[in-house]
Structure formats: C-alpha cells, structure tokens
Symmetry: C2
DNA sequence: CAAGTATTTAGATATTCATCAAAATACTAA
DNA sequence: TTAGTATTTTGATGAATATCTAAATACTTG
C-alpha cells in the first residue's frame, strides 16, 4: 500500500481520481483540465496506474482511464484498520 | 488538509502515528523505536505537529507527544466524502 | 556555576519528484 | 506515403525532502 500512499500524496493526482469518479476519461480529456503539460499528466497517470488506483484501456487513437474502485476502497479499509478507532487511548 | 496528506505520505510518520495510538510517548521514546537520528525524528514530529495530527506537551525535561484523534478522524472523513461513496450520496 | 540529559535547530548533502520541451510511438486519414 | 492527432518516453532542471552531524536551547541537579 506504500505505492498508494505515494500516489495519493500529490494534489493533482487526487484531483484526477476525483474527476474519474464521474466517469471514464481519455488522457487528453484529463490533461485539458489542468494547466500542466500532457507529459506531466501522463506521468501522473502512470503513477496512479502503477499504484493500481486506475486502469487504462486503449481504444482507437485514445487511451481511456478508469477509476479502480476496489483498490481505492482497500486503501480506505487499510487506513481504518491501521488508524481507525482502536478503542481506549483517549482518557488522559 | 493538504498538510495532513503530506504528513501522512511518509512511512516513518505513519509509524509514529500508529505507535501513538497505544499511548503518549516522549520524543526520546519515539526516537528509540527507529534507526534514524533524533534530529530526524524531531523533524518528523514537527511536520506531524504542523499538520495538527499530534500535539506536544512540555514536561520536566521531556516533551510528550499525543495523537490528535480529532484531526485524524476529520482526515478520514474527508477522504470518505471525496472518494468513498460514489453514486449513492445525494448532496443538496 | 558546571555538568548531564532531552530535544530542537542549523547547515549540508543526496535523493526523490513535479515539471517541461522535444523526441518517439502508435494510430488514422488523405 | 505523408500529414495529423493522441499519448508516452526521454533527458534535463529546479524544488522539495529525508537524513546526517554538530551546535544550540532548555531544564535539572550536584
């Protein structure tokens, strides 16, 4: 899950994940939403893909990206397990 | 919450947070658990403190650190709101 | 005061990382 | 084939970061 933490640490990548919740997008569509170069977005997409947070599917000329809900929810669950209320350490 | 994400991005800092769930610890006690220098741990503690994830209390010769449950739970809730429930939340 | 302990701060270094422009790859269309 | 579009890869650069040692701060005690 180290890769996921690393992937989530960047605000641009979190914004990409948020956008993908509303539906799949091509690399170009994602890139259009940001002020950084397409190369930079491609780099972010690669990190998200390697973390398993998104998947990509090559179509004719475009590559469509899709949120991988499962990995993301595992991440949330992992946080909850590691840090979620473990009980009894708030008395003093 | 940007600071919180940044603070959580480092594995040493996440380990510190996990340890503090079992009770307050002094800087020295925390430092003893890791193979890095006390100065480095102090640096990590500063970042966690600035993110609001921990608080510090000066005692006689030591400084005791304590997990700030509230900020951490707000962070979890923020993630859940931004990413957790896709499709079944109706906002106003 | 001087010495010892606990912790932080300062200064330096090495690595990681976000970014860009340019080149490369892959595909489509004329 | 040539040109054009979509995307990634490469190579470079500057900024951020984790780390160290050494010095500084703060506190306690003899």
């Amino acid at each position: 899950m180290k890769d996921v933490w690393n992937a989530m640490a960047d605000p641009t990548r979190r914004a990409i994940l948020t956008m993908l919740q509303n539906g799949d997008m091509t690399a170009g569509e994602i890139s259009d939403k940001f002020d950084v170069s397409g190369a930079t977005i491609s780099h972010h997409l690669k990190i998200l893909r390697e973390a398993g947070l998104i998947t990509s599917e090559k179509e004719k000329q475009t590559i469509t990206y899709r949120l991988n809900i499962t990995v993301f929810q595992d991440f949330l669950k992992g946080i909850a397990e590691a840090f979620g209320m473990k009980g009894e350490n708030h008395e003093k």
